[in-house]
């Protein structure tokens, strides 16, 4: 796979399928936003956004057809962001657990 990356021309069908999936997911996320799921609204919306982003990265940005090195570099960026967001959020949400600590 990685030896033929520059030969790979993605079939038109794949681009249109991915595009249709992105449009459907957009309307699903708008639809779900109108329904009150309490605290779960944000999780549903973010999950759909992540699925859309993964589709764009894999197919429109050709990561699925790229070399292993490109895959690792691209994945590292997003994983690192998850660490940074996750650790900071953990800090903010756990401050109230210790009475008298800095809020």
């Amino acid at each position: 796979m990685s030896d033929h990356s520059e030969h790979h021309i993605v079939p038109l069908k794949v681009y249109f399928l991915v595009f249709s999936a992105l449009m459907i997911l957009l309307f699903v996320t708008v639809g779900v936003a109108m329904v009150n799921l309490g605290p779960f609204n944000i999780y549903v919306a973010m999950s759909i956004a992540i699925i859309k982003a993964v589709l764009v990265v894999l197919y429109f940005m050709h990561v699925r057809y790229s070399t292993r090195l490109t895959m690792v570099v691209a994945a590292a960026g997003f994983i690192w962001l998850v660490f940074l967001l996750g650790i900071t959020i953990l800090d903010y949400t756990s401050r109230s657990w210790i009475p008298g600590s800095y809020q």
Partner: protein, 220 residues
């Protein structure tokens, strides 16, 4: 693309076209990681303030028009499709289609910015731009928002730098358009098209996250 190792399309530091292309792609992804961190910081600020001022964010978010945002998301997704098709045309060495798809991408990109400008103008009119004239009325049932100004500061910061990236993208597209009309790109050399495509899709991904964060999650 088994061309001779050192033809004019391959810079002398590379062994072959394949290596040159991989270097360009990995280099672009490295730049995009810095962009992920840049927008990540803004998203983090948004998450922290939303957590802290949940009620204000809830009320302020409702002022934004979901359907205008949805329309703009559609426009941007279509521009990403035309960009992907443009890269494909470049890979096949189809100059005419490449030029057409770049123009289409530019039209949709410009349309996005046009709608954004309309939204901004509306915010100015309704005194929702942070500053001395800021005055939040809210929508019926959601008027109480003492910290709405923070929401709108983040709204303008996030959509503003995103729009700036779109403008840079349009600049890149203009450059690509000139080069493709001149016939610089061929089946054997289309790295700039691919790289600008990566940038364009990345800006699309940023919007994929901004739209639900700003417009959607406080809707119900």
């Amino acid at each position: 693309m088994s061309d001779a190792a050192h033809n004019s399309l391959v810079a002398h530091q590379f062994d072959d076209a394949r290596q040159q292309q991989e270097a360009a792609t990995v280099g672009m992804w490295t730049f995009l990681i810095t962009e992920i961190m840049f927008f990540g910081g803004l998203i983090l600020a948004y998450m922290i303030y939303r957590n802290q001022f949940a009620e204000s964010f809830h009320a302020a978010s409702r002022v934004l028009d979901v359907w205008v945002g949805c329309f703009n998301t559609c426009v941007l997704l279509v521009s990403s499709l035309t960009m992907a098709l443009g890269v494909r045309a470049a890979q096949m060495g189809d100059r005419k289609k490449l030029v057409l798809f770049i123009i289409a991408t530019m039209i949709f990109g410009a349309a996005f910015l046009g709608v954004k400008a309309y939204e901004y103008a509306e915010k100015f009119e309704h005194h929702l731009v942070p500053g001395p004239t800021f005055h939040f009325h809210g929508v019926p049932g959601h008027e109480h928002a003492p910290n709405a100004e923070i929401f709108f500061s983040l709204y303008f910061a996030m959509t503003g730098v995103h729009a700036l990236h779109m403008i840079v993208g349009l600049g890149l597209m203009t450059w690509l358009l000139r080069k493709s009309i001149k016939g610089t790109f061929s089946k054997d050399y289309y790295n700039p098209v691919e790289i600008c495509g990566l940038y364009w899709h990345f800006v699309d991904i940023v919007w994929i996250f901004l739209y639900p964060l700003l417009y959607l999650i406080d809707r119900s």
